[in-house]
C-alpha cells in the first residue's frame, strides 16, 4: 500500500500531466477537422490518447482509461487505413474528448470519474468506427496495439526540423547513404544519458548525424533514455560503421540501412506517403506551418513564484539602500563598497529578469482554447465564422491567463451571437459569407493590449438610444457607455448563449476591479465591433526617474522619458486661456504641464524661479512635465495602488524607494492624455 502522501503526489502529477495532454489533444483534434488527411495529426492523437489511457489506468481511473482506450482504438484504425474519418465520427470523437475533460475536472475536484455517463457515447463511437463491442473482441486489438505503439516513435522520428532537413540535403549531395541506429543504453539509470552520448560521439567521428530521438544535445529533464534512435548518413558500409558504436554497456543494437531513394521521395510534396513512414520533407513542413508553441517545462506553483518575486523585490530594495550608504562613506571604504554594490546590482537585475520570465507565459496558452469555442458556437448558431489569432507569442503574467479567460470567452460569445450575421444576412449585405473574429494581443508601452474584433453588425445606436431613453443629441460615444451598465441589453429575446446581455458590464467590472485594467469599445455600425482590453503589467520592476513636487516623490518610467531640462518660468507661454502652457522645444514647442496642478487643479501654481522639466513621450507625442526637482534614477518595485489614493488614475502603482520614502509611479499615458 502506498503511503498517503505519495499517493497525493502521484495524483497531483497525474492531473498536471493529463491537463497538458488534454490541451494538446483538443488542439490536435481541431486541426484534424481542418486537415482530415493529415496522417501526422492522426499519429499524434493516437499517442496522446495512448498516454492518457496508460496514465489513468496506472492511477486507477478506470472509466477515464476506458474512454481514452476506445479513442485510441479509433485512431489506431484510422492510422492503419481501416477507417476513414468522417464529420459524423469526428463530432462523436470531440464529444468523447469533452467527456474526458469533464472526468478530469471532476477528479480535480475530488469527485472521481465514476459519475460521468459515457457508455452511450462509447456505443456510438464503436458503431461509427465499426469496432466490435467489448464482449466480441477479446483477443485481437491488443496485439495490433502493441505493434502500433512500437511503431509510434518512428513517426515522431521522421519529423524533421528545417535544420535537419538541410542536413539530409547535404548528405544527398555528398551521395551518402542513410542509416537508422537503435540501441538501449545499459547501466545505472542516471548514466544512460552519457552512455547514449558516447555512442553518438563515436558515431560522429565517421558519420553525419541528422537527428537523435530523444534529443541528445538538449535532453529533456525527465527523459529516461531507455531507447535511443539515431538517424545518420555515411559513405561507409554497415560493417565499418558497426565498429564505431562498439561500446560497452549498450544493448539491443539495430543498424538498418534506409531503403534507396527513400529521401528522394520526400522531396516531392505530391508523392504519396510510403507505407507507414510519412515522407520527411512533407511532415517537416506540416509541422512548421502549424507553428505550435511547445516547450519543455516544469510546472511551478504560482504562490512559490510570488514568494520568489517578493524576495527579489526585497533584494532590490536592499541594494538601493547599500548604494545610499556608500554615498555617505569615506573614500577608500566607499570604493570597496561600491565595487560590491556593483556586482550586487548586476546579480539582482539578472535575478529580476529570470524571475520575471518564469512568471510569464505566452498568451497562446489562453488563446488555444478559443478555436474549439468558436467552432462549437458557430455550428450551434449556424453561422460561418473564421477565427484569427494574432500575437500568440505575447507574454503575459501567469495570473492573467486565468483572469482573462472568462472575459474573453464572453466577448467571443457576444461577437458570434449578437455581432456576426447569418450567412443569408451577410450575403444580402454584400459581405463575405464567412464572418471573421480576430483576437490579438500585444505589449504596448508597458501594458498588455488584447483586442477582440468582428466584422458583424456593430452596435445599433438607435436601439440603444431607445432602450436607454437617451437624449436625441447623445453622441455615439455616450451611447456606447450604456452597454456597460448592469443588465443593459437591446435584445428582446434571450439566447441560449449569451443570455440577456449580462455580459459587457460583468466583463468591464471584472477587468477594472480585478485586473486594474480598462475596457474600450468602438463600433462602426454595419462594419463590426472592436473591444479593447488594456491591462497594466502586473509585476514590474521599472527603471525610473524619481522627481519631487513639494514634499512628495514620484517615479517616472525611464522608457517614457525623452529628456530632462531646466525650465525658466518666463519661457512658458499660454496661447489660449484654457489651453495648456507651451514651452519652446526642439525648434517647435511642446505642451507643458505642472505635475502639481495635475494632482490638484485647485492649487495655485507656485511661481518658483526655476522649474525642472521632464519631456515625456507617448506614442509619438511629447509633453513636458514640470516638477520642483529631478532626483535620481532608481529601479523601483511597483506595487498596486489603492483606488482611494488614486482618484484621477494618474498613478499606475506605488513603490518604496531605497531610503524608505514612498514614490507614486506616474502613468505617463494618462499624463499625456490629461494634458491634451
Amino acid at each position: 500500500m502506498m503511503p498517503e502522501v505519495e499517493e497525493h503526489k502521484l495524483l497531483h502529477a497525474f492531473l498536471e500531466e493529463s491537463e497538458e495532454l488534454l490541451e494538446k489533444l483538443s488542439q490536435a483534434l481541431l486541426e484534424l477537422e481542418k486537415e482530415p488527411e493529415n496522417l501526422q495529426l492522426v499519429h499524434e492523437i493516437f499517442r496522446l490518447t495512448h498516454s492518457l489511457k496508460s496514465e489513468s489506468a496506472l492511477i486507477g481511473f478506470n472509466n477515464l482509461s476506458e474512454l481514452a482506450h476506445r479513442l485510441e482504438d479509433v485512431f489506431e484504425r484510422i492510422r492503419s487505413g481501416a477507417l476513414t474519418l468522417r464529420q459524423e465520427l469526428l463530432d462523436v470523437i470531440l464529444s468523447a474528448a469533452d467527456l474526458i475533460h469533464e472526468m478530469v475536472s471532476r477528479i480535480t475536484r475530488g469527485e472521481g470519474d465514476e459519475d460521468v455517463d459515457f457508455r452511450s457515447l462509447l456505443g456510438e463511437l464503436a458503431r461509427l468506427a465499426g469496432i466490435p463491442r467489448a464482449e466480441e473482441r477479446a483477443a485481437s486489438p491488443g496485439e495490433a496495439r502493441e505493434a502500433a505503439s512500437r511503431a509510434a516513435p518512428a513517426a515522431d522520428y521522421f519529423r524533421l526540423s528545417p535544420l535537419e532537413r538541410a542536413r539530409v540535403r547535404d548528405a544527398q549531395d555528398r551521395g551518402e547513404s542513410f542509416y537508422e541506429l537503435a540501441f538501449r543504453p545499459e547501466g545505472e539509470a542516471l548514466m544512460k544519458y552519457p552512455r547514449a552520448y558516447l555512442v553518438l560521439n563515436n558515431l560522429e567521428q565517421t558519420a553525419n548525424v541528422v537527428k537523435t530521438v530523444p534529443d541528445l544535445d538538449e535532453p529533456a529533464e525527465d527523459e529516461s533514455f531507455t531507447q535511443v534512435r539515431i538517424l545518420f548518413s555515411s559513405e561507409l558500409g554497415k560493417t565499418e560503421l558497426a565498429r564505431c558504436f562498439d561500446v560497452d554497456q549498450v544493448s539491443g543494437i539495430e543498424l538498418r540501412r534506409l531503403p534507396e531513394g527513400f529521401w528522394q521521395r520526400s522531396a516531392g510534396p505530391a508523392a504519396p506517403p510510403a507505407e507507414g513512414v510519412p515522407p520527411a520533407e512533407a511532415l517537416g513542413e506540416a509541422e512548421a506551418t502549424r507553428g505550435r508553441v511547445e516547450r519543455s517545462s516544469v510546472r511551478v506553483d504560482t504562490r512559490k513564484l510570488d514568494e520568489l518575486w517578493q524576495l527579489v523585490g526585497e533584494l532590490v530594495h536592499c541594494r538601493a539602500r547599500y548604494s545610499l550608504l556608500a554615498g555617505g562613506l569615506a573614500s577608500e571604504e566607499r570604493l570597496e563598497l561600491e565595487r560590491l554594490t556593483d556586482s550586487l546590482e548586476r546579480i539582482t537585475s539578472q535575478m529580476q529578469q529570470a524571475v520575471m520570465q518564469t512568471r510569464m507565459v505566452p498568451i497562446s496558452v489562453l488563446f488555444n482554447k478559443f478555436p474549439r469555442l468558436v467552432r462549437d458556437l458557430s455550428r450551434k448558431l449556424g453561422k460561418n465564422v473564421e477565427l484569427e489569432l494574432l500575437g500568440r507569442e505575447t507574454e503575459i503574467d501567469r495570473s492573467l491567463v486565468e483572469a482573462l479567460s472568462d472575459p474573453l470567452t464572453h466577448l467571443i460569445r457576444n461577437s458570434l451571437d449578437h455581432g456576426l450575421e447569418t450567412v443569408e444576412e451577410r450575403l444580402a449585405l454584400g459581405k463575405p459569407a464567412t464572418g471573421r473574429v480576430t483576437i490579438s494581443a500585444q505589449q504596448r508601452g508597458g501594458k498588455i493590449v488584447v483586442e477582440v474584433s468582428d466584422d458583424g453588425k456593430g452596435l445599433d445606436f438607435e436601439r440603444i438610444r431607445r432602450r436607454a431613453q437617451a437624449a436625441p443629441e447623445a453622441t455615439d460615444e455616450e451611447l456606447t457607455g450604456y452597454i456597460f451598465l448592469p443588465g443593459f441589453s437591446t435584445r428582446e429575446d434571450v439566447t441560449e448563449l449569451s443570455g440577456r446581455g449580462v455580459g459587457l458590464d460583468v466583463v468591464a467590472t471584472r477587468i477594472k476591479e480585478k485586473l486594474k485594467g480598462e475596457v474600450l469599445v468602438s463600433s462602426s455600425p454595419g462594419a463590426g465591433l472592436l473591444t479593447t482590453i488594456i491591462l497594466p503589467l502586473t509585476l514590474t520592476i521599472l527603471h525610473s526617474l524619481i522627481v519631487r513636487v513639494r514634499q512628495s516623490f514620484y517615479a517616472i518610467p525611464m522608457q517614457d522619458i525623452e529628456e530632462t531640462l531646466q525650465v525658466e518660468p518666463a519661457s512658458l507661454r499660454r496661447p489660449l486661456p484654457e489651453a495648456p502652457e507651451r514651452l519652446p522645444y526642439g525648434g517647435a514647442d511642446v505642451a507643458a504641464v505642472r505635475l502639481e496642478s495635475l494632482l490638484d487643479s485647485s492649487r495655485p501654481a507656485e511661481t518658483a524661479s526655476e522649474l525642472h522639466g521632464v519631456v515625456l513621450q507617448q506614442r509619438g507625442r511629447n509633453v513636458c512635465l514640470l516638477v520642483d526637482e529631478v532626483e535620481e534614477e532608481q529601479d523601483v518595485v511597483v506595487k498596486p495602488i489603492a483606488e482611494l489614493l488614486n482618484p484621477k488614475h494618474l498613478f499606475s502603482g506605488v513603490s518604496v524607494l531605497g531610503d524608505g520614502r514612498i514614490a507614486f509611479l506616474l502613468d505617463t499615458a494618462r499624463v499625456v492624455e490629461l494634458t491634451e
Binding site: G187, M191, Y193, Y197, N201, D246, D248, Q249
Partner: protein, 121 residues
Amino acid sequence: MAKRILIADDLSFIRLVQREALSSGGYQIVGEASTGREAVEKYLALKPDLLVLDITMPEMNGLAAMNRILQADPGARIIICSAIGQQSLIVEAIKAGARDFIVKPFKPERLLRAIGKALEK
C-alpha cells in the same frame, strides 16, 4: 607486451581497487597520480597506453587535466571515472574526447571491459 596504464584518483582506496583489477586483467600499472596536475605531468612523462582519470580531484580537476593531455597528445586514450550524478560533466568529457566512462562504485570486470574496448580502437 602488457599494456601500460596510468591511474589518477585522489582517493588511495579507489586507486587500490583499480590496481587490483588491472593487475588481475594483465595490465601493467606504470604510475599513479592523486591530483589533476600530477596526472598531466605523469601522462606526459610516462606516455601510457591508457589513462583512467577521476573527475573530481584537487589541483586541476579531471576535465581540465584531460584537456591538457589531449592538447599534447590528441590520440590519448582516456577513460573517465566518476561518481553518480555527474552526468553533464561526463558528457563534457565525452565531447572533449574521453573514450568511455565508468561510475563509482564499479565492478572490476566493468573497468576491464571498458579498458579492453578502448584499447581496441
